[in-house]
């Protein structure tokens, strides 16, 4: 008998927080708002920990039925939750990192007029994300999926009075819809062929399917459609364009939604659907190729960006590419492992970046920073740890997970490994570039007087600083905790511990493969060494270019010329999309749909109909004279007709 875990509490608690803050927050004090947000979010985290504590006494997967939802014929989709090792990992990551970011936000957003709104949205996001993670069928997952999209939209456009924020929110929403479209079609295919969306039932049916080209084509189609959805949510080529723009939102949002949790939903979904993907090698290859290309592509853009958050955004895209690469090679647990460590160090990076921005009064351009290490030592240290982690320097967390992925990649195909290695180099380079440009050298920012008239235009982040100063403790403590996690988080992967933990979910196929090749242990160590070397060289290059010889980058840029500007402008992808999709759509809508169909066809036909009705009724309305006797006359004549008709019918016979 398994104990009742009351999983429903985990998502519902943040929902309650969101409701309370949303409905009553406007009148409440900031302390009350933050208390409520933290208490409900923390309670969810505590409950998740309790669930983790009890996990050994529970038969996994554990299912919890809540309520009927759709019962149409044999098709059943209920509100029900599903817990296995995979969702447990996600649960802990989401609630844990989420809680830390809530704490951080209390300090970061303190002066914002939309304080209660922010926390309501944040709690709402937690609710949807947890629903997504805990769902036991694709439909409930889709609720969460759409819900986090909504929360993301609301939070990107949090400063909606600012034009760029509003349009960034819209962009994120619309691009996500494209992905969701694919996701939905995939779900429809599942319903059509398996008559269910329940994970257990679908996966059972899939494993029982007869192998053959038809089956494989079907599963490939489903897999690719699911991957389209994942591309949208997790910002992969070709739908990554919304994520850099999403940095218009407040920095804690970028950390929570656009780095640590929501964007990994795609990875989670693909991992969750691993049964489908494993039966469809083509789909798996698509995942791998998309992941690999995205990793490299986004990393190169990251080199040239000067906005501190944009760099991190492209870095996120790149790291997500890594995760998909891992999934695409069947190494789902490696992908999830990287997902977890990435949540730690990328969350930390964003929070630290937020702390930096906070310190310099809302400035985000790295060229106007520099030399901050003396002003904000704690931020400097924690961010250093995060940078080492993401660059893949042992023993930090990123090293273990990234190395795992590279090792799997090498086993699958050395081209993946090579691209992965190059990407790792570039990652190390741009991360250290960011780090050095921010903290080393001299302060290049605007020196504002202590009365505080910063001439930078981030109105909401503007605190009116004198000199750059350290953030309050409420912001630093989450940084430190995340720093610790970034250091030790990777240790769970030593000796394939994490992989073994997830083995019940993903099967033992890969584990057996890995342990079977005992002879290749030396090769693994060699590759590990190579990657560390590559990472270190990236760091050193960055040191050379941005600390010791800061004039060099300019020269290199001039030498590269067109290529450099292409990279600087993100390969003109946004412009390309604008030309390819947006402009034809706008023009088509304007000329054909609006002026053609809407005006000429619909409006005109309606106007003509109305005019016709007017003309006809102009004549007919004289019947309605208002004279009582005329009405009676019509009634009498009409009844005579009816009587005559009835007699003719033979009623009177």
């Amino acid at each position: 008998m398994t104990p009742n875990l009351n999983l429903w509490l985990i998502p519902v608690l943040p929902l309650a927080g969101a409701a309370i803050n949303g409905f009553f927050g406007k009148k409440s004090s900031r302390t009350a708002v933050s208390t409520i947000a933290l208490v409900f979010c923390g309670a969810a985290f505590a409950w998740a920990l309790r669930v983790a504590w009890q996990i050994s006494s529970v038969d996994l997967p554990y299912q919890e039925y809540l309520a009927h939802w759709i019962r149409s014929g044999s098709f059943v989709a209920d509100f029900a939750f599903y817990l296995d090792q995979l969702s447990l990992v996600m649960l802990l990551v989401v609630t844990g990192v989420g809680f830390l970011i809530h704490v951080y936000s209390v300090g970061y957003m303190w002066d914002d007029p939309g304080y209660y709104r922010f926390f309501a949205y944040l709690n709402l996001f937690m609710f949807f994300m947890l629903t997504l993670v805990l769902a036991n069928n694709y439909l409930v997952m889709f609720i969460g999926w759409e819900g986090v999209g909504l929360a993301s939209y609301l939070l990107i456009g949090f400063w909606f009075t600012k034009d760029s924020a509003a349009s960034a929110g819209k962009k994120a929403f619309i691009v996500n819809r494209i992905g969701d479209f694919g996701f939905l079609i995939g779900l429809f295919l599942l319903i059509q062929h398996f008559a269910s969306l329940n994970f257990t039932q679908v996966f059972d049916s899939v494993t029982k399917l007869q192998a053959g080209p038809v089956t494989e084509n079907l599963l490939t189609a489903i897999g690719i459609l699911l991957m389209v959805g994942a591309c949208g949510k997790s910002a992969q080529i070709p739908l990554y364009v919304w994520l850099p723009d999403a940095m218009e939102g407040p920095t804690p949002v970028s950390a929570l939604i656009h780095a640590a949790t929501m964007v990994t939903a795609g990875v989670y979904m693909v991992a969750r659907s691993h049964v489908i993907f494993e039966s469809a090698p083509t789909a798996l290859a698509v995942v791998a190729i998309i992941g690999t290309l995205t990793a490299l592509f986004a990393a190169t853009i990251g080199i040239t960006q000067t906005d501190i958050k944009k760099v991190l955004a492209y870095s996120t895209v790149s790291q997500l590419g890594y995760m998909f690469m891992a999934c695409g090679m069947g190494a789902f647990s490696a992908g999830i492992f990287h997902l977890m460590t990435h949540a730690f160090f990328k969350g930390l990076l964003f929070l630290a970046a937020g702390s930096v921005i906070h310190a310099v009064g809302g400035e985000q351009d790295m060229r106007k920073m520099g030399g901050l290490r003396t002003y904000i030592p704690w931020t400097f240290m924690t961010m250093g740890i995060a940078t080492l982690a993401i660059a893949g320097i042992p023993p930090f967390a990123g090293f273990w997970s990234k190395d795992e992925i590279l090792w799997k990649a090498y086993q699958a195909n050395w081209i993946y490994w090579l691209i992965g290695l190059v990407t790792a180099f570039i990652t190390s380079f741009y991360m250290f570039r960011l780090y050095f440009m921010t903290f080393f050298g001299d302060y290049r920012g605007v020196q504002v007087d202590s009365h505080g008239h910063a001439h930078v235009t981030r109105g909401h982040d503007d605190h009116g600083h004198g000199e750059p100063h350290e953030s309050p403790a409420v912001m630093l403590v989450p940084l430190m905790i995340l720093a610790v996690l970034s250091v030790v988080g990777g240790l769970v992967g030593i000796g394939n511990g994490f992989e073994h933990f997830l083995a019940p979910v993903f099967g033992t196929r890969e584990t057996v493969g890995a342990t079977g090749e005992v002879a290749s242990h030396s090769l693994e160590l060699l590759l590990m060494f190579v990657s560390v070397l590559v990472a270190a060289s990236g760091a050193i290059l960055a040191w050379v270019l941005y600390v010791s010889k800061p004039y060099l980058p300019q020269k290199i840029a001039e030498t590269l010329g067109g290529f450099y500007s292409a990279v600087l402008n993100k390969y003109y992808v946004d412009e390309l999309y604008a030309a390819l999709f947006v402009k034809p759509l706008v023009d088509g809508s304007t000329h054909i749909l609006w002026q053609g169909v809407d005006r000429k066809v619909i409006d005109d036909s309606i106007n003509d109909a109305a005019d016709g009705a007017l003309h006809v009724s102009d004549h007919v309305r004289h019947m309605q004279s208002g004279n009582l006797r005329s009405y009676a006359g019509w009634i009498a004549a009409g009844s005579a007709v009816v009587i005559a008709y009835m007699i003719w019918l033979g009623v009177g016979r």
Partner: protein
């Protein structure tokens, strides 16, 4: 010719004469009196048909209450002789031929099938003792509904006919 038929024809003659007189008279009070005559004649017909209670109520309710209300209103509004305005050609052109045509058709059908049988005088004793149980058992729901209807009608009449309290009533002169 039996007595029954003679009585029927006599009452029918009164009723038709009253009805025609209702149309012919120009003063509403004369029309009202004609209508009372029609109702009284119909009460006689009801007696012939054995519907004593209906006949009594016909006199009490219709002649004694409803028509009194009509006469009361005619007196209250001091309604004069009818004006011969030509407000509606439709009523004359379509309505009257329609009404006449319809009734002629019905009469034709009824008379053509005169084999529908004959009605004996006093065939069915419609006395209160037999009607009461019917009204309070089988037709209880319609009965209650009509009582609600009456209530609503009373309230509606009060609302419609009462003057809105626009001006305060001047204080009564004491002497």
């Amino acid at each position: 010719m039996n007595v029954h038929l003679i009585l029927f024809l006599a009452f029918a003659a009164v009723a038709v004469a009253g009805a025609v007189n209702l149309l012919a008279q120009t003063h509403p009070i004369n029309s009202a009196l004609s209508l009372i005559a029609v109702m009284a004649a119909l009460a006689g017909e009801y007696l012939l048909l054995g519907a004593e209670f209906v006949a009594a109520l016909q006199v009490i309710v219709y002649a004694g209450a409803v028509m009194v209300l009509f006469v009361f209103v005619i007196m209250l509004l001091n309604a004069g002789v009818e004006e011969r305005t030509q407000g509606s050609r439709v009523a004359i052109l379509f309505g009257i031929p329609g009404a006449v045509l319809g009734s002629v058709l019905v009469a034709w059908v009824v008379l053509r099938h005169s084999g529908t049988g004959e009605v004996p005088a006093g065939a069915l004793p419609g006395v209160p003792a037999t009607i009461g149980p019917l009204l309070f058992h089988e037709f209880l729901l319609p009965f209650e509904i009509t009582s609600i209807l009456i209530l609503i009608a009373i309230m509606g009449a009060v609302v419609l006919a009462s003057t809105p309290p626009s001006a305060p009533v001047p204080p009564r002169e004491e002497n």
